[in-house]
């Protein structure tokens, strides 16, 4: 079980780091990441495979990040999300992706991550507690926002 868990974390490290950074900001990202790992470890033995691994992973990570915020009672970090009016970055695609994620609020950014990970809308809806229709509307809104910001 130990090696399977290590393998899972290794494969999803960057994904989890993204969530941790979004919820903890740069200042507390490591703490949030640690909280996510603890909760994943606790839940790993009970994961029955009913859902996709990525859906399960997002569900635990988001809720653990939320638990961390509640437990640690930290002030929101200024790096949690950048002001929307900031200048778009240069042409580097990774920088554009990062900039766009930073410009979104917590909910929209994780919704985008799940969408980019090809999670079905029904799974996204079940993780966030939204209706499938609301997920589609939000994704369209994100597309529009992206186009307004980065597409000439």
């Amino acid at each position: 079980m130990t090696s399977e868990f290590n393998h899972l974390i290794h494969n999803n490290q960057r994904r989890l780091r993204f969530v941790a950074r979004k919820y903890g900001g740069v200042a507390h990202a490591d703490d949030v990441y640690q909280e996510i790992l603890v909760q994943l470890w606790r839940s790993f033995g009970q994961f029955r495979g009913d859902a996709q691994v990525s859906t399960w992973l997002y569900r635990i990570a988001l809720n653990a990040a939320l638990m961390w915020q509640r437990k640690e009672v930290k002030q929101p970090s200024p790096a949690g999300h950048l002001p929307e009016a900031s200048e778009p970055p240069g042409q580097c695609q990774a920088a554009i992706l990062q900039d766009f994620l930073d410009s979104l609020n917590e909910i929209d950014s994780v919704l985008l991550m799940m969408h980019l990970d090809d999670l079905p809308a029904a799974d996204i809806a079940s993780v966030l507690g939204l209706s499938v229709n609301a997920v589609h509307i939000r994704i369209n809104r994100l597309k529009q926002k992206f186009n307004d910001r980065y597409v000439d």
């Binding site: 130990t2 974390i9 909280e35 790992l37 470890w41 809720n63 507690g129 597309k143 597409v151």
Partner: protein, 195 residues
């Protein structure tokens, strides 16, 4: 770059492995152990208080009725406080929740916790104060043969009251400076979900 190209960039980013392999399991296990350790210490202290109370009653050490009453009360308190601690910190099952239900639940819990801390004088300090006062007064009466407190006992009580006031102030401070901002942040997240 258009929106669909984001997916390729995301996949590429996610498949870029960090050069150093973190020993994730060790971090997780260590933190888990530490959390359990703190809870175990707090529960052990209460268990010890319970055993001391039972031993004192069984040995007949407490002859004064007030002291006997305080020992029974201490037994009750040493069960009640760990019960509250365990209830508050029990392991959360996160895998069945949606973010929305979790947020709602956390808001409800935080509001309850705020009320609990605000009313700490009622549920935590009052029973402890009764234990301290009756215990010390009973012990004093057993030792001196009179219920009229001397200056030493009065000073001791004054110290206990000051400590109680300090605890109340610290709790009020925790509610205002820590819980309130978190509650606001959770409500903001809920608003993001509803937008």
């Amino acid at each position: 770059m258009n929106f669909d190209e984001l997916k390729k960039t995301w996949e590429k980013e996610m498949n870029t492995k960090s050069p150093q392999m973190e020993n994730s399991i060790q971090i997780a296990q260590k933190t888990d152990r530490e959390m359990k350790g703190v809870l175990a210490i707090e529960t052990s202290v209460c268990a010890l208080l319970f055993i001391v109370s039972v031993a004192a009653l069984a040995s007949g050490f407490a002859a004064n009725p007030m002291m006997i009453f305080s020992l029974y009360l201490m037994m009750a308190v040493s069960i009640y406080i760990p019960y509250r601690l365990l209830k508050a910190r029990r392991a959360e099952q996160l895998d069945n929740w949606t973010l929305r239900t979790n947020i709602d639940r956390e808001i409800e819990k935080l509001e309850k916790q705020s009320r609990l801390l605000s009313g700490v004088a009622g549920w935590y300090l009052a029973p402890l104060a009764v234990v301290v006062f009756t215990g010390s007064w009973g012990g004093y009466a057993q030792r001196t043969g009179t219920y009229v407190p001397d200056s030493g006992l009065l000073i001791y009580w004054a110290g206990c009251i000051a400590l109680g006031v300090l605890v109340i102030v610290l709790n009020k401070n925790a509610v205002n400076k820590k819980l309130a901002p978190t509650l606001e942040r959770l409500k903001n997240l809920k608003k993001q979900l509803d937008d």
